[in-house]
Amino acid sequence: MPLPDSEKNEKLFQDTVDQDIRIEPKDWMPDAYRKTLIRQISQHAHSEIVGMLPEANWITRAPTLRRKATLIAKVQDEAGHGLYLYSAAETLGISREEMVDQLLSGKAKYSSIFNYPTLTWADMGAIGWLVDGAAIMNQVPLCRASYGPYARAMVRICKEESFHQRQGFEILLVLSKGSEAQRRMCQDAIDRWWWPSVMMFGPNDEASPHTAQSMKWKIKRFSNDELRQRFIDVCMEQVKLLGMHLPDPDLKWNKERQHYDFGEIDWEEFRNVINGNGPCNKERLAARVRAHEDGAWVREAALAHAEKRRRCYA
């Protein structure tokens, strides 16, 4: 059989994407598309898994049983989201083991937001509102991503994220109506989480060289700056309900643009945290490595047990 013409394949692939027909695991796809997806999906999965750590920090100290139950449910969802995404990435031919290795060896990245510490209970609120809010802004368009298994995982995730964001906002709302100390705690958490959340959308468009290709492949539907602007506009309205403010003196309505103008982002800090020098990078990775190593005997024992049962009932 003659080898399929790679240009013909490429054209057929792009036509399929252009018609908004999804690409499925066994379909032909360009190598770079596969690689980009593996990188993006596994990074997202790692972020969900590492993202459990800052919140787990407050489970034992949640102020009420209701808060504890809902926080546990949220952290459990994040584990679930990580698993949906790992399994979507596996359809592209990378093994789970390889992805876990990449995370634990520090080769793979995850969202740098999780390298910030959670200092007070109000951080659970600010993370839910701002961090999950930014994540939702990023993720909703991914429900229409061109790769079928990824888009389907994102549909599930987005359905569940909205509970996270509402939970966070409610935590802040209660604090905002509390004592002077609680109100201070609420504002302090917003002050610390605002800029890292704004950075979650990634570099400015002109510093984001892969955006154009990802848009052509319909892995990405909006640019970093478009999504960031949308997030800022939404938060500026929402913060009013809390009677708090966002820590950016340059935030003001621009009538001409019909958007809020905002201040300069500290990209130096962004790069620093991405490159491993954030407040908690080492701690987060160490916690993951320890969990993986401590779980090794469980994984082994489960396999041995399964094997023994197979022999007994064969």
């Binding site: 379909d27 459990q76 399994s87 979507a88 399964a306 049962r309």
Partner: protein, 95 residues
């Protein structure tokens, strides 16, 4: 020696009585019982299902997209399999 991995399983969920099981995703598990538990925890945290099937992924045989034309095209020239192919008067009722 590299650690041996838990095999991959595909998960199918019936969302309510009367509907088919539908593919939900996959999980890793050492055996069927664990696959069932993991599928429950990962894919039905919000009453998404009333019944779960798990099957080890290596037992699934999938058609190849390159063979789509030989598998599906022949049906195109057999439109007489569809009811609209037949020319019948409008007066004909209950058919």
């Amino acid at each position: 020696m590299p650690e041996q991995q838990w095999p991959l399983w595909e998960v199918f969920i019936r969302s309510k009585q009367g509907l088919d099981h539908k593919h939900a995703g996959s999980i890793h598990a050492a055996d069927a019982a664990m696959a069932m538990e993991n599928a429950r925890d990962v894919y039905t945290r919000r009453m998404e299902g009333v019944s779960i099937w798990v099957v080890e992924s290596r037992y699934i045989h999938a058609s190849n997209p390159d063979e789509s034309s030989s598998l599906y095209d022949p049906a195109n020239d057999k439109i007489y399999r569809h009811p609209t192919f037949y020319d019948l008067p409008d007066e004909l009722k209950h058919m």
